[in-house]
């Protein structure tokens, strides 16, 4: 199990590093997805199977698909890669690298001084997570739901123009198509009323 853990952790670190350095947006995203999968494996090994499943369903299965969806809609090709190349200069790396080095130093310090940091082998069941979410962490859950509600209302506000159009022409799109598409042929117009 310990070997599997280190293996998954190594994959997570490597793919994240590759995801940062890729110039092509979709390729970077693919590595990020692999990194998320590796993190899910890590969660599973250290005794949080429910969290691992959520990581797969929500992070890798929904959020990343949305990212991919947006990138596909923008359809950025060779030009974006060139722009990215001009942006990713060594000078840009300096700041984040320095900060990351501090973090690594801290991590090593903690790992060395705290001695044995064996993974807790207590397996957390879905029920325990539910009980703690709606028990001690109820306020956090409510706050998150408020935040999501705000996001939903915001998205609805941004998407309102389509609704107005619908009010103008009704829910069926035939009327709208007739105005914008200037349909010359209407259903049944090719038939004369006094067919022999």
């Amino acid at each position: 199990m310990l070997i599997a853990f280190y293996f998954a952790a190594l994959i997570a670190v490597l793919t994240t590093a590759i995801a940062i350095t890729r110039r092509h947006a979709v390729h970077a995203l693919l590595y990020l997805i692999v990194s998320l999968l590796a993190v899910a494996v890590v969660f599973y090994i250290i005794g949080a199977p429910f969290l691992a499943a959520l990581e797969l369903i929500i992070d890798a299965g929904a959020i990343m698909v949305l990212f991919l969806f947006v990138i596909m809609m923008l359809n950025i090709g060779e030009r974006a890669t060139e722009v990215e190349t001009t942006w990713l200069k060594p000078a840009v790396w300096a700041g984040p690298s320095a900060l990351a080095t501090v973090l690594i130093a801290e991590l090593i310090l903690v790992a060395v001084t705290s001695g044995s940091s064996a993974a807790p082998m207590h397996v957390v069941t879905p029920k325990e997570i539910g009980v703690s979410l709606f028990g001690p962490y109820a306020i956090a859950v409510e706050l998150v739901s408020l935040l999501l509600m705000a996001g939903l209302v915001g998205a609805y506000h941004l998407g309102r123009r389509a609704v107005r159009e619908e009010e103008q022409f009704g829910t069926g799109t035939d009327a709208r198509r007739a105005v914008f598409g200037r349909d010359a042929v209407h259903a049944g117009s090719d038939r004369t009323s006094h067919a022999a």
Partner: protein, 316 residues
């Protein structure tokens, strides 16, 4: 011998599923022909069963062409994802008591996770083909599958509440008195619709709508790479049928006949239902599909969850 038993299960499961997926091509063509009042493939071998072999040989020997404008690595990767995720899902499916590769306590969630990862196959195939029709197919697929996944998970939670577990064997055992299709009929209908949409079968095959998108995400695929999408789709259909049988129709439970046979009969019945849906229903417009998903099916599944929770709470 104990250590060999899991390997034996894996081998049997892989053998059965892969052969079933190939055989389903013949089953689907014959059944469609039956419902459309024609013969279907009946020339090769008895009942035309040799058609399966002929089709496989044809797919394997066709020219496997990668378009020069495609993103090569992603193009090759995409068909593999759908087969891998669909096959991995069968790891948690209990075929009979004790006959399961991995009886996870989050089995149902694993099923959902694998099905949501399967989206990548279609999306990446559409994008990597670097073709407008394929891209449109990929975009449609991602929007459709994201929307239908949401209430797919929610419709299943009614079953989880009644069984009190995500483990699939527990869910089947909880149906000894009554199959969940009776107390969870709304959930069953919602899951069936979501399942058809999730496997991108007709009437929800807008990602490959051949009349408008010339096969959509797999326009540029040929040879066995196209075959992988095909096989992946049939494994997906088998998986959703198996899931319906497990979650709502008592899985392997049944009188007289051996348990594995009951499970096979139930699964095959739902596969036939999938094919009948294809034969019987027209394709909706894409905006109608999205409207239905978000405005009717999602609230309905939330309502189903609320009522189920309230009833269970009141009875306990």
């Amino acid at each position: 011998m104990m250590s060999l038993y899991p390997l034996l299960i894996i081998a049997v499961v892989l053998f059965v599923i892969l052969n079933l997926a190939a055989g389903l091509i013949w089953v689907e063509r014959r059944l469609l022909a039956l419902w459309q009042d024609r013969y279907g493939p009946n020339r090769v071998g008895p009942f035309g069963l040799g058609q399966v072999l002929a089709d496989s040989v044809k797919l394997f020997t066709k020219e496997d062409w990668i378009p020069p404008f495609a993103d090569r690595a992603v193009f090759v990767l995409a068909p593999g994802i759908i087969v891998a995720t669909a096959l991995l899902s069968f790891a948690v499916v209990p075929f009979a008591p004790g006959f399961v590769v991995a009886d996870l306590n989050i089995g149902l969630l694993f099923l959902l996770a694998m099905s949501s990862l399967g989206v990548y196959s279609v999306v990446l195939a559409g994008w990597a083909s670097n073709n407008k029709y394929s891209l449109l197919g990929g975009i449609r697929a991602s929007a459709q599958m994201l929307s239908y996944e949401v209430f797919m998970g929610l419709s299943l939670l009614g079953v989880v509440i009644l069984a009190g577990s995500f483990r699939l064997t527990d869910i089947v055992e909880a149906q000894r008195k009554v199959w969940f299709v009776i107390p969870q009929f709304a959930g069953f209908v919602l899951f069936l619709i979501a399942g058809v949409a999730e496997t991108r079968r007709l009437p929800f095959d807008l990602a490959e709508a051949e009349s408008e998108l010339i096969a959509g995400f797999h326009s540029e695929y040929s040879g066995m790479k196209f075959g992988m999408f095909f096989v992946g789709e049939y494994i997906g259909v088998t998986l959703i049928s198996a899931a319906i049988a497990l979650l709502y129709f008592g899985g392997w439970l049944g009188p007289i006949l051996p348990s594995a046979l009951w499970f096979a009969i139930k699964t095959l019945a739902f596969i036939c239902l999938f094919i009948l849906l294809r034969a019987g229903l027209p394709r909706p417009r894409f905006d109608q599909l999205m409207l239905w998903g978000w405005k009717y099916l999602l609230p309905l599944s939330l309502l189903n969850l609320l009522v189920t929770g309230a009833v269970v709470l009141a009875l306990s």
